[in-house]
């Protein structure tokens, strides 16, 4: 059990580190177009050529042909680790041009193929993941913060505070939020910077999503409030604030943690949905949603399977998070019993 949790946590940390250092892992600038290579398929890694087997994998340059792409086998391009290529900023601060791997030009290594503008899909999945996962995590934090605040207030004070707050959550839960957002986009100025859009999307998802954790927290607080030790503390003259901080908040930590692991993948999916419909960050910045939106075209969907790569990334992320939520949940149950 512990090992499983550990492995899942390790996978989660690895995933986030890869995304955090996307610039390093990605071989190319995600916005750099190569107009000679639209919809190029993933490059094949080779180990064997005419001269025999090689330990270092190599690729061949792809060139466009009347029906698809062909590999030019006259020259091989070995893959090198730790190469210098396009410059980027690590976490927006340190400028560098080191990359984990790469090949010498003019060949391009496109592990997940390229999109319609010849941009490297692998690099875009990594950079897109930064946007999508960051939006999911940030929105979760907002939702939990707002949700637990209101949930605690409602559960602890009861009465009209409870009635009015829970009434509000019901209102939020029944809001058709996709239409709400589509409508809201119409009132925004035409030119919204990517950063602003990102914050807007995150805040909107978080602020719409607070209702569910609020109801959950309220339930826990409601039951905690009438526990004997709480009543005793109150009898000794503890203030409301003391009770919340000392006795009730610790009760919540477990439930908030599991909620977080449940909500993060859900909010990543929400960001993907919004970007899919063109409400998220706009071109040329990548996000899993706006990358998937090209699949709305039938011809792309049936012709270029590698354009589904962001989908795979989304599934892997969601699975890790949900498995973690599962183990956390069962461990918490184990603890409380």
């Amino acid at each position: 059990m512990r090992l499983k949790t550990f492995l899942l946590l390790a996978a989660l940390v690895a995933l986030h580190l890869i995304l955090l250092f996307a610039g390093f892992v990605a071989p190319y600038d995600p916005a750099a177009q190569d107009r000679e290579l639209p919809y190029a398929p993933p490059t094949g890694l080779h180990f064997k050529d005419a001269s025999g087997w090689h330990l270092r994998p190599f690729i061949y340059a792809q060139t466009i042909a009347p029906d698809g792409y062909v590999e030019n086998t006259s020259r091989s391009f070995p893959i090198h680790l730790f190469v210098r290529a396009s410059s980027y900023r690590v976490m927006g601060i340190i400028q560098t041009n080191w990359h984990l791997f790469g090949v010498a030009g003019p060949a391009r290594i496109t592990l997940f193929g390229t999109d319609g503008f010849g941009r490297d899909e692998f690099s875009r999945v990594l950079y897109g993941g930064q946007v999508s996962v960051a939006a999911g995590v940030a929105a979760t934090l907002i939702a939990l913060l707002v949700g637990s605040t209101f949930g605690m207030l409602a559960g602890f004070f009861g009465d009209w505070a409870d009635e009015s707050l829970m009434g509000t959550t019901e209102l939020f839960l029944c809001l058709p939020w996709l239409y709400f957002l589509l409508g809201m986009r119409a009132f925004l100025p035409l030119q919204v910077s990517a950063l602003k859009t990102f914050f807007l999307v995150t805040c909107v998802i978080g602020l719409i999503g607070w209702a569910r954790p609020a109801r959950l927290v309220r339930g826990v607080v409601l039951s905690a409030r009438s526990r004997n030790y709480v009543l005793a503390a109150r009898g000794f003259g503890a203030s409301n604030f003391y009770l919340l901080r000392r006795h009730i908040l610790p009760e919540l930590s477990g439930i908030l943690l599991t909620q977080a692991t449940v909500l993060v993948p859900r909010y990543i999916a929400a960001e993907v949905t919004l970007s899919f419909f063109g409400l998220g960050v706009s071109e040329p910045i990548a996000s899993w949603g706006n990358m998937l939106s090209t699949l709305q075209q039938y011809s792309v969907l049936v012709s270029y399977a590698w354009m589904l790569a962001p989908m795979g990334a989304l599934v892997i992320t969601s699975v890790i998070y949900s498995l973690l939520a599962d183990t956390l949940h069962s461990q918490l149950k184990f603890h409380s019993s």
Binding site: R35, P38, F117, Q191, S282, P284, Q297, S299
Partner: protein, 589 residues
């Protein structure tokens, strides 16, 4: 025979007569049919076409949308036709016409003895009545503008039951082309609603089939809301093939409403539809890859007449509270700025990435698809970022350390391009332009908007900075382009509602366009229009990008499939289309 058996028989006969398509009437004495000398085929069959939307009306006088016009066009006919293959005029309901030497009067001789699809004879009264409808300001037909020349309407007079005379208020080049797209309507059916002031409700989609009659190859059989319109053979149609068989060959023409282009392709692949009148290059390539499975006839007709372009908002924004855009108009109005933008755009790669080589780059409003009118003297410079930078430098622009372009007052050059989100090709163009301009240090944002919102901003609120749009495709002649290039035109997109020409070159274009309209000699007109194209290419109100090829597909069973580069691309010869059936040769009915 027992009564019950007789009843069953009667019912069966009735049912059979309802289901079967009407049999072509044999020609009557004195009926002047049009004989298509090189057309052959055989009768029978049904052709199904997937449409992206439902038609809005079946009334030819008030229809504006493409789908309505496509359906209506099959049920109606014009006096003079533009042959879509040759792009030249040819006789239709008028078997011949005479033009007066000054080009102002046209005397049309109508075909005798021909009938509407309800069997009622057609004569000059119907022509006079139809034109009264098109010219009525109360009805406000979209065709009305074309018939008003120099602010005065053209006049129609009946000389005999089969002769009509049209008098134009002034000389008008290629006037016979006007008659194409003006269906002749039955007076006997439409006079009553017109007199009662209910004309705009007549011939709606819910009309009973026998209330509608036309002179086209087909007539209305059934309309199922949300699903399809079914047309059946007009048994009185006035054209016949080389063997004197009355056209059309097809029993039925079915328009299926499928929604999107992708749905059109999927239905076609599934064999549910037989024809797609316009394909994107991606879907064309998809179908050609799967040709072995779908056995489709694919046609790449070459460059279309459509032109896609980037343009900047140069409208008069005083009193509009759009200060930010007004500030940027200092750049947009600067010719050097536009020249630099044009020089930096790599049109060849736009063609490659957007149209997959099934298109052509454009440097002017008339593309290679329009061989009659294209000015070959317009230069086609290669994209050059260096040259663009030099132009900007000479105009007082500079770059900061981060490589951002600054104008002469030191403000960074940043603007947005709006485009309709439903058009993936124009979205792609905008993204490529964005990337090209980033090499000049311009910060460009692409803003996809819903189609109506785009139109609204461009035509009404002027709340946009730049846009990528497309125009053209109707006719090869320069006259339909009048409203784009003359300063008072309703599609003078970059600066709408000019009361007088804002610039000297716009003034010159106004004069040239007016002149070409009244010049009858082709060579002279061509010289005038060449000058218009030069002025446009020099002053870049639009920065032309690319034109797609006309790509169409039809099932292999469809015979006489001859798509054209004029709209309607595939159904213009619907009367000649037929379904090949094994064992039957063309020519045998």
């Amino acid at each position: 025979m027992k009564t019950s058996v007789r009843l069953v028989l009667v019912v069966c006969l009735l049912a059979a007569s309802c289901l079967a398509a009407p049999i072509p009437e044999s020609s009557t004495a004195g009926e002047e049919l049009d004989h298509a000398e090189n057309v052959s085929g055989h009768y029978g069959g049904q052709l199904t076409i997937g449409e992206r939307a439902e038609p809005k009306t079946l009334n030819p006088v008030i229809a504006t949308d493409a789908v309505s016009r496509e359906v209506i066009g099959r049920m109606n006919a014009d006096l003079i036709d533009i042959n879509h293959a040759s792009q030249q005029t040819e006789p239709a309901l008028a078997k011949s016409w005479k033009k007066s030497p000054d080009g102002r009067t046209f005397t049309l001789e109508l075909r005798k003895g021909i009938r509407f699809s309800d069997g009622y004879p057609f004569d000059a009264d119907d022509v006079v009545f139809s034109f009264a409808l098109y010219m009525d300001p109360q009805i406000d037909s979209p065709q009305r503008d074309l018939l008003i020349i120099d602010g005065k309407p053209l006049t129609v007079a009946k000389l005999s039951p089969y002769t009509v005379r049209f008098t134009l208020p002034g000389p008008y080049a290629a006037a016979e082309r006007l008659f194409d797209g003006l269906p002749m309507l039955p007076k006997h059916l439409l006079e009553k609603p017109y007199r009662e002031g209910k004309f705009d409700q007549a011939w709606s989609l819910n009309a009973v089939p026998n209330e509608i009659a036309g002179l086209g190859p087909f007539r209305l059989k059934q309309y199922v809301p949300g699903q399809r319109v079914v047309l059946e053979r007009n048994p009185y149609y006035w054209r016949a093939d080389r063997d004197n068989h009355r056209l059309p060959y097809l029993d039925e023409l079915v328009f299926l409403f499928v929604g999107t282009e992708d749905a059109q392709v999927m239905r076609f692949e599934a064999g549910e539809t037989d024809m797609i009148s316009r394909l994107s290059s991606e879907n064309y390539n998809l179908l050609s890859r799967e040709r072995s499975r779908t056995s489709a006839q694919l046609a790449d007709m070459g460059s279309s007449l459509e032109y896609n372009f980037l343009f900047f908002n140069q409208n008069d924004l005083s009193g509009k509270k759009l200060d930010e855009i007004a500030r940027k108009q200092k750049w947009f109005g600067d010719l050097k700025f536009r020249q630099a933008v044009s020089a930096a755009i790599d049109r060849d790669s736009i063609v490659r990435l957007v149209y997959g080589t099934r298109g052509a780059p454009l440097w002017g409003n008339v593309g290679p698809g329009n061989k009659l009118w294209m000015d070959n003297a317009i230069p086609h410079p290669q994209a050059s970022v260096d040259q663009a930078r030099q132009i900007l430098k000479s105009a007082g622009y500079s770059w900061n350390q981060a490589g951002q372009l600054l104008d002469s007052s030191g403000a960074p050059v940043e603007f947005s391009i709006i485009t309709s989100s439903s058009n993936t090709q124009r979205m792609k163009m905008a993204t490529l332009v964005q990337d090209d301009l980033s090499h000049l240090g311009m910060q460009v944002h692409v803003v996809p908007l819903e189609f109506r919102a785009t139109i609204d901003r461009v035509f009404q609120s002027f709340d946009y900075e730049a846009a990528v749009m497309g125009l053209g495709g109707g006719d090869a002649d320069p006259n339909p382009e009048m409203n784009v290039w003359t300063s008072s035109g309703t599609t003078h997109l970059w600066h709408l509602g000019e009361t007088q020409p804002a610039t000297a070159w716009e003034k010159e274009i106004d004069q040239l366009m007016q002149q070409q309209m009244v010049t009858l000699d082709y060579a002279k007109r061509k010289r005038l229009y060449d000058r218009v194209q030069e002025l446009i290419a020099q002053n870049l109100p639009f920065i032309f990008l690319a034109t797609p090829n006309i790509l169409t597909a039809a099932d292999s069973r469809v015979g006489n499939f001859h798509p054209a580069i004029l709209d309607p691309y595939t159904l213009w010869n619907a009367d000649e289309l037929y379904i090949r059936t094994p064992g039957k040769n063309a020519g045998a009915p």
